[in-house]
């Protein structure tokens, strides 16, 4: 019988073909048709690492060729993997990396690329996204759609900024933030679970509510009484001994504020807890088939409520990153849609913690690359770089990179006995 491809396979095939095509174009265009005329310099030193890696200087055209070749080889492997019906994620990711690097080498011809700084900045931009996506993850794995991530982040950024300003202590800001996140979660949980309000509408309305409230209070209190209400102190960097001195990795991962270390801990804990513990098993169960969970004695709505509250706490820490974790003062609508990019990261990462983290890092990288290129004076329309997370998410949900399946009961209120 002849092999017939299903829709999903066809779409994966499109995905593989697109990557192969892009790799080839990248090789031809960056390497041959319009090669960079100058040398590209990559810098790796950020602080005072033990081993100072020397700058890496390469002719732009040669570098672009090398990276493009890597991409081409990886995409061929992806095609082979697709044919053998194996996973294509890793080769596809390598190919994407190759194309990106090739592009950077090409575009920064004659310029200096602070490579370690680029990555560190990407991580920092990803921090609130990761917190936000973890909040979304816990809610949606339990069967509650959370598009109020933006509201959670914004409310907790506001509260942590104000509390830290009033107390002059960063730690109080960090403690208050999760409480604010949980307060939004409380509204989400109450209306979604107890009163069965449509969760997309609810999340949307909560975002508007938080934007309205914070804008209002910002104008009413934070602007006129700035010296008392909006001068939050910030956490310093904590350099982990030894680790911080590792070249490249040190400055990126081990010389950060406490909020970033909290993030590492939370991601690790969630990944472990979701797949290995009783809580995780039950959480996944109520997100997939709540009736089945109910019949084995799990109180579905209680656990959902609890998880939505936990999610609020986590998003709250992410909110604190905006104020006490980085700049201190609260700014009007300072989260600027990060909650929605976090949602995008969650979906792009296929509702898995690790996937969401990588997606958030990718989005953070695109964002930071755009500003780095602007700083070093490369003129490309930065708007198109900023579109990357959104286009990537559309590609993900339309299935070009394989099947994306939300938890089966995501967004469906649980009422025992169904429609009586």
């Amino acid at each position: 019988m002849k092999k017939v491809r299903s829709n999903i396979e066809k779409r994966r095939l499109v995905g593989v073909s697109v990557i192969t095509l892009l790799s080839t174009i990248s090789l031809l265009f960056f390497g041959f048709i319009s090669p960079g005329k100058d040398k590209t310099t990559f810098g790796f030193v950020l602080n005072n690492e033990w081993v100072i890696i020397k700058e890496w200087v390469i002719a732009s055209a040669t570098g672009a060729k090398i990276f493009s070749l890597i991409a081409v080889v990886a995409s061929i492997i992806a095609v082979l993997a697709f044919r053998a019906n194996r996973k294509i994620v890793i080769p596809a990711a390598i190919a994407t990396f190759g194309i990106l690097m090739s592009f950077i080498t090409w575009v920064a011809s004659g310029k200096f690329i602070p490579f370690t700084g680029l990555l560190q900045g990407a991580l920092l931009l990803a921090v609130p996204l990761i917190f936000g996506s973890m909040s979304g993850l816990i809610c949606e794995r339990s069967g509650v759609i959370n598009i109020a991530i933006e509201g959670q982040l914004l409310a907790s950024a506001f509260v942590s900024g104000v509390v830290a300003s009033l107390t002059h202590k960063t730690i109080w800001g960090l403690i208050a933030a999760p409480i604010a996140g949980a307060a939004i979660s409380f509204l989400l949980a109450t209306f979604a679970i107890k009163f069965s309000v449509d969760q997309v509408i609810l999340g949307f309305v909560l975002n508007v509510l938080v934007i309205g409230l914070t804008d209002f209070l910002y104008k009413k209190l934070l602007v006129p009484y700035q010296s008392t209400w909006n001068t939050a102190p910030t956490f310093g960097h904590i350099e982990l001994p030894i680790l911080a001195k590792i070249p490249v990795l040190g400055p990126i991962f081990f010389s950060q504020s406490i909020v970033v270390y909290l993030m590492f801990a939370i991601v690790a804990t969630i990944t472990f807890a979701l797949f290995k513990t009783k809580w995780g098993l039950r959480t996944r169960a109520i997100g997939e088939h709540p009736t089945a969970a109910d019949t084995v004695g799990i109180d579905v709505n209680k656990l959902r409520f609890k998880n939505v509250m936990i999610a609020g706490l986590i998003a709250g820490v992410g909110g604190a990153y905006y104020t006490v974790g980085s700049v201190g003062a609260f700014g009007k609508e300072m989260t600027a849609g990060a909650g929605f990019i976090a949602l995008a990261a969650l979906i792009f990462g296929k509702w898995s913690p690790i996937g969401a983290v990588f997606a958030a890092l990718l989005f953070g990288f695109a964002d930071n690359l755009q500003s780095t290129l602007t700083i070093i004076g490369v003129s490309i329309p930065s708007e198109f770089m900023l579109m990357v997370p959104y286009i990537a998410t559309i590609i993900a949900v339309t299935g070009l990179v394989g099947r994306v399946r939300a938890p089966a009961a995501d967004g469906v209120p649980y009422l025992r006995g169904g429609a009586h």
Partner: protein, 504 residues
């Protein structure tokens, strides 16, 4: 362990689902609860299991009053249940499903999956089941999934086991196996409540039979009672179990399916290169246990499936690859498996549902304008013709009873010029009166010279209506046999055992 129910009453709005029901299950007894669809059996069992709470009444376990308001109370009282719709998480492994709700964890709250694997292997061995603890549930056949549910109840030491319509998804052979397992459990002292509407099984295995009709216990009888008596007690009047089928001339082939393959979204073949035809004036039944590709095949006949290969010829014209609209309008009437999900738009009025397929045709549509008055007047005609009981054709169709909903679907589908009627589980969930109506209607279509393809998992229905019977097993049609076939032969075919050459 004994279980006693005293005066259980439960109402939903104006409907009394259970009306002071008394019932006693002795230790080590198989107690069958027999009743029509909608009689209140499931409501009663959901009350015993704590999924619903009774308005009044008491539950006693071993003569002691117990308070069961949550499933966890039932579980700790030693009551286990195998649900009609399996309560398993499809994406979990068997072991994960079994420990869910009973997790034992070691340090850091890590669940102990190994203990679960051992327990599953042990119970499987005791009862001769073959269940892999690490298999993902959604990849298992329904028969095995049911065993997972039974294993779960046994591992948690259920002393009273409720089986809710357990044979609906099984082949006759699997049913026999299940009945055997039930006897073994009984021998080990487990009490079993066996809920069903299948008379034969009840008589075979039950020690005691309680019959429920419209929420009330109408009789408690012994298994020696005849099938006819059981049926009339269940329905409340004498019922004719087999509809009258007139002999008449069967015509030429009207629908011919050749090498028809249907695939799911992942590309797996669900229906594998089947060949069959139906003649004008003939009922071709497609029998088989649920989940062997019948649903997909039925849907494929009007191009409802996305991946169909092969050929479907209706009166000589190829219709595979046509739109659903064209398939319907070229002469196929389609009664879908689920009236609520696929047949009707619940919030639409009865009149609107009657023209779901014809709304953009004369006389309902003039250009893009929809004529509201014509829609209403035509609806009134249909309602009279099909004896649909309702208050007003403008009411939402969701206000109707199951039988009347099905009549709306049938009325709509027969309002087009029909060459072939495709009926997928047309009597599922209906009361006996409505079942009789549907059967008569199907035979009437046959007698008027239309081809009927009847998909049914109910062996009795198949044997009563069919002129020829095709049996599906794992996506293939094993054989097409004449209606003279015996139950035993059909049962073997449904289990995948081929005995003789195809007759048609």
């Amino acid at each position: 362990m004994s279980l006693e129910l005293r005066g259980i009453t439960k109402t939903f709005g104006s409907l009394t689902a259970n009306d002071s029901i008394n019932l006693r299950v002795e230790t080590g007894q198989i107690h069958a609860i027999l009743g029509e669809n909608g009689a209140g059996k499931s409501t009663l069992m959901n009350i015993v299991y704590g999924l619903l709470n009774a308005d009044s009444g008491e539950i006693l376990v071993d003569e002691k009053l117990v308070d069961i308001s949550e499933p966890i109370d039932a579980l700790s009282a030693g009551i286990g249940m195998v649900h009609q719709h399996f309560m398993l998480i499809p994406v979990f492994t068997v072991a994960e499903n079994i420990i869910l709700g009973h997790e034992k964890s070691s340090k850091f709250g890590v669940i102990d999956i190994d203990a679960a694997r051992l327990a599953i292997r042990k119970v499987s061995k005791d009862f001769g089941f073959e269940v892999d603890p690490d298999a993902i549930v959604e990849s298992l056949p329904v028969g095995i999934q049911q065993k997972v549910e039974i294993i779960r109840a046994l591992i948690y030491e259920a002393k009273v086991l409720i089986l809710d319509e357990p044979t609906a998804v099984l082949t006759p052979q699997e049913t026999d196996e299940l009945l055997k397992t039930m006897r073994e459990l009984k021998a080990k002292g487990t009490s079993i409540i066996f809920i069903t509407h299948k008379l034969r099984e009840v008589r075979e295995v039950a020690d005691q039979i309680t019959i429920i009709r419209r929420g009330k216990v109408v009789a408690a009888v012994s298994p020696t009672t005849s099938e006819g008596e059981l049926a009339s007690m269940m329905v409340g009047r004498a019922v004719d179990l087999a509809p009258v089928k007139h002999k008449h001339q069967i015509g030429e082939p009207i629908l011919v399916a050749t090498n028809l393959t249907v695939r799911d979204a992942m590309g797996t073949a669900i229906v594998k290169s089947v060949n069959f035809h139906v003649n004008a004036g003939e009922v071709l039944a497609i029998a088989g246990v649920q989940g062997n590709g019948q649903s997909e095949l039925a849907r494929a006949l009007i191009n409802l499936e996305s991946h169909i290969e092969g050929s479907i010829k209706l009166a000589g014209a190829e219709i595979r690859g046509s739109s659903i609209y064209d398939s319907l309008h070229s002469g196929i009437a389609f009664i879908p498996e689920s009236r609520e999900l696929d047949g009707l738009v619940g919030s639409f009025s009865i009149a609107e549902n009657l023209i779901l397929d014809l709304h953009d045709q004369q006389p309902y549509a003039k250009g893009i304008n929809l004529s509201a008055s014509t829609v209403l007047s035509e609806a009134e005609k249909r309602v009279t013709e099909f004896d649909i009981r309702l208050q007003s054709v403008s009411d939402a169709v969701s206000t109707l009873s199951g039988g009347n909903k099905q009549k709306v679907v049938i009325a709509r589908e027969l309002s087009r010029p029909v060459k072939v009627l495709v009926a997928s589980q047309p009597t599922r969930g209906l009361d006996v009166g409505s079942i009789e109506f549907v059967h008569e209607r199907i035979l009437a279509e046959r007698d008027q010279g239309r081809g009927v393809i009847l998909f049914s998992t109910e062996l009795d229905e198949v044997m009563a209506l069919a002129d020829r019977i095709a049996v599906m097993y794992r996506g293939e049609i094993l054989e097409i046999v004449d209606s003279g076939v015996t139950r035993g032969e059909l049962g073997l075919l449904m289990a995948g055992v081929v005995t003789k050459k195809a007759s048609a």
